[in-house]
Amino acid sequence: MKIMDVKDQVSLSFGKCVELVLSGIKYRLFRAAVTVVIISLAVAFLMTMLTESFVARRVADQIDLRMAPRRTFDFWTSRIAAPLAEQNLILELARATRDDPRWREFRAWGGLNDQRMDELVDVAGKQLPYQRFFDGLDEGKLRPLFGRTRGVEVFRRLQDEGAYRQFEEEFRTLGLKMHASLDEFKAFLGDWKKTEPMRLAILEGNGKALSSLRGKLSGQEPTAVLAEADQALPKLLADHGFQMDANELQMVKQQARLSLDADRLSRLLSIGRIKNRLADRRNADLATIDATMYFGELSTSGGAEWFRDQVADLARTIKDLEKSLPEDRAALAGLETRAAALDEKILRLQAAATQKAKDMETLKAQAAKAPASDEAIKASLKEAEQADAAAKADVDAAEKEYKELREGKSDKGAVLAVGLDDLRQRVKRDSETATSLLPARANIETFGLTSARIAQVAANRMEQKKLSEIEASVSRAAGESGGLLGYSSRTMWLIAVSFVVCVVGIANAMLMSVTDRFREIATMKCLGATDAYIMINFILESCLQGTAGGIVGAVLGFLLGAMRSLASYGWIAMQHLPWELIGVTAAAALIVGVVLSALAAVYPAWIAARLAPMEAMRIE
């Protein structure tokens, strides 16, 4: 019996293998396309989430960066305005390191050394997780645990044996679980008590320092202080234990100035005239004028110029009114007096005229009764008629005078004197204007801002608002998905399901393929294909489809994620795309696509490889 010599067998080059697979795919293009679509959908899904998450993270970093000056400013104003609260002390202690300015401050205020500070920092670091845990509980649990005590006070309360026992019992009953055991917590409480005097010392030191500082600042508002700050300020602060470095000084000063100027602009918005003019300028409804529109308009160079003109106009108005209003008021008073006098006179004359008319009527009646020869009566009657006419004329004259007084004297259209009515109106109007401008008078008269500065301040205000909105949007998104890149289990679940569906779908399609091709496979075996070749053929086919699907999916997913980020956060999302990260992610997504398709093909490929070549023969 001969032993067969197997050499040069199935030295099918990989290239040839790929070639055969490719021609096979071309033939079954539709089914291949379906597989590619399935993979690309799953990969796109994954890629979208990852892209969005990375972009959001980058956006959050950017915002942090841009808002840093403002934060520093807020930080220093609040420190100068009020003493340190216990809660904030804890937060800052937890964050502090040895080379921190805060470290030096606390050490100085509390009269402590570095070792003591280490203890404090340690305790604070332990306290925060406990505090966060307690803050996360709902009212129904907090009541039995701590009664009415909340926040930092809780740790104080639990120093009492009875209170602690109650807490412990309720904790066990409610079946709660903390990041540490109750024993660890108890030990922590002991440390907390031990370090409490130190903390109180810091708070006291801070309080004393602050009141001394405020005394030196002689009642100035923190913002004003910071706006005028020069090299002397850090020294002054340092004398009281507050550590501000040179960078912070610049930042804070700039922000303080921006804040003050922005406030000035805001106050001017409340003036009715400005609002009206702005509504006209923007062709908008008066009711829709708000701070956003206001600052939006002012942030443009045209708007800033316009505003300066408005303010100048207001200043002029104030000046004019200062002169004209008293004059007008005096004139008005004069006219009112005359009017009153005239009024009285008219009444008298009218009374007289009525009397005269009565007399006339009486005499007329008499004359009618008397014989025509009575000359005396006739003469009296004539007299009476004359008197009556004169009286009427007087009344008319007086009334005419009164009318002229009221309406002003005019000579063929030209106004010679202003009438009472008009003057009243004018004084009323001007008084109202003066009243409305009075509060802002100082602001208007000392308004020294250039239009460039106006635009800068307004733009800064707009940016702050926008950044806050984006920040809120980012943290909202983070909250929904369980933290940036710390995906909620729901998201993980969705992704896992999509992968499973993908694999199952492809495996199904491949099994159909195997069934359709059984004769072809069996024939190949007759021609010398090994089982391994058949398996490689199918898995390779699937991998090629996976690659195509992976590429399509990665690109699609990236675009979709980028668009969604754009919609959520605006252009800031596009400005700093983390390209390297996205590149790596795309590669990973591609690999996922290939792996998924290879996985899906394993079972069908195995089925195919096991096919007996005799299936190729006709079945009798």
């Binding site: 019996m1 001969k2 032993i3 067969m4 197997v6 040069d8 067998q9 199935v10 030295s11 099918l12 040839k16 055969l20 021609s23 096979g24 071309k26 033939y27 004769r519 072809e520 069996a522 024939t523 190949m524 075996k525 007759c526 021609l527 010398g528 294909a529 090994t530 089982d531 070749y533 007996a612 070549p613 005799m614 190729a616 023969m617 006709r618 009798e620």
Partner: protein, 262 residues
């Protein structure tokens, strides 16, 4: 168990002890288990097939003809007994060696042609050469030679769908000769073809046998093919009923003498 032999003729025809044997079976048995039922397809076959001969295998449905073919073609392993192809015991071969066998030593021709639909005629012919490790250019040259052999050189770029049945079968024949096999296994090669195209195929097969000294084993009902054979073998009920030389058998249109009703 010894095979039953019809007393009318000797079981092996003219036996030539000097002639080299290409395929030998010893007590070949094959049974299939389907659930609870065990079917004995082959019940002990002892035959020797000589190198360079043209032998036709006949038998009714269920006679074990296809099973016999599978055994002889290295497509399946026996349940018991032995099959020697070129003195190599097929049952001893592992999967890779079997693949080698099918690639180099045996060519297959099917009733349904079984060409790869998405490849041209030339590509189809070169597939076995690829498996044998022949380089691209050499494969293509040899492929064209093979296609010339079957008069299809001018259609080398056609896909199976663009060819008639006869042309497809000719391509299949060219493919089967690609690696210069010792044996050609034909399973009803003209079953799907009309009489005239069938005659073409028969001629080609006979030509291969005579000119290229290829052993041809055919399963067929076509009398004209049987007419060209050197020997004829009948299988019935899993046993060889009879083997006879062509000269001993009367082949007529319509019926062949010595055959049971089909």
């Amino acid at each position: 168990m010894n095979e039953t032999v019809s007393p009318a003729a000797s079981p092996h025809g003219k036996q030539d002890a000097q002639r080299p044997v290409i395929i030998r079976t010893r007590n070949l048995k094959k049974s299939y288990r389907m659930g609870q039922v065990v079917t004995e397809a082959l019940r002990g076959i002892d035959i020797e097939l000589y190198r360079g001969e043209f032998i036709c295998v006949m038998g009714p449905s269920g006679s074990g003809k296809s099973t016999f073919f599978n055994m002889v073609g290295g497509l399946d392993s026996p349940t018991s007994g032995r099959v020697f192809i070129d003195e190599v015991d097929v049952a001893q071969l592992n999967a890779v060696e079997l693949a080698f066998l099918r690639c180099r030593k045996i060519g297959y021709i099917f009733q349904t042609y079984n060409l790869v639909q998405y490849m041209t005629a030339l590509e189809n012919v070169t597939v076995p050469m690829a498996f044998a490790g022949v380089s691209g250019d050499d494969a293509r040259n040899r492929g064209m030679e093979m296609l010339k052999l079957v008069s299809l050189a001018d259609r080398w770029f056609h896909k199976p769908i663009e060819m008639s049945g006869g042309q497809q079968q000719r391509t299949a024949i060219a493919r089967s000769m690609a690696n210069n096999p010792a044996v050609l296994l034909c399973d009803e090669p003209t079953g799907n073809l009309d009489l005239r195209t069938g005659a073409e195929i028969h001629r080609i097969l006979k030509g291969l046998n005579t000119d290229h000294k290829v052993t041809i084993i055919c399963a067929t009902h076509d009398h004209r093919l049987i007419d060209m054979a050197d020997r004829i073998m009948w299988i019935r009920d899993g046993m060889v009923e009879r083997i006879a030389d062509r000269s001993e058998v009367k082949v007529q249109t319509g019926a062949i003498g010595g055959e049971e009703n089909e």
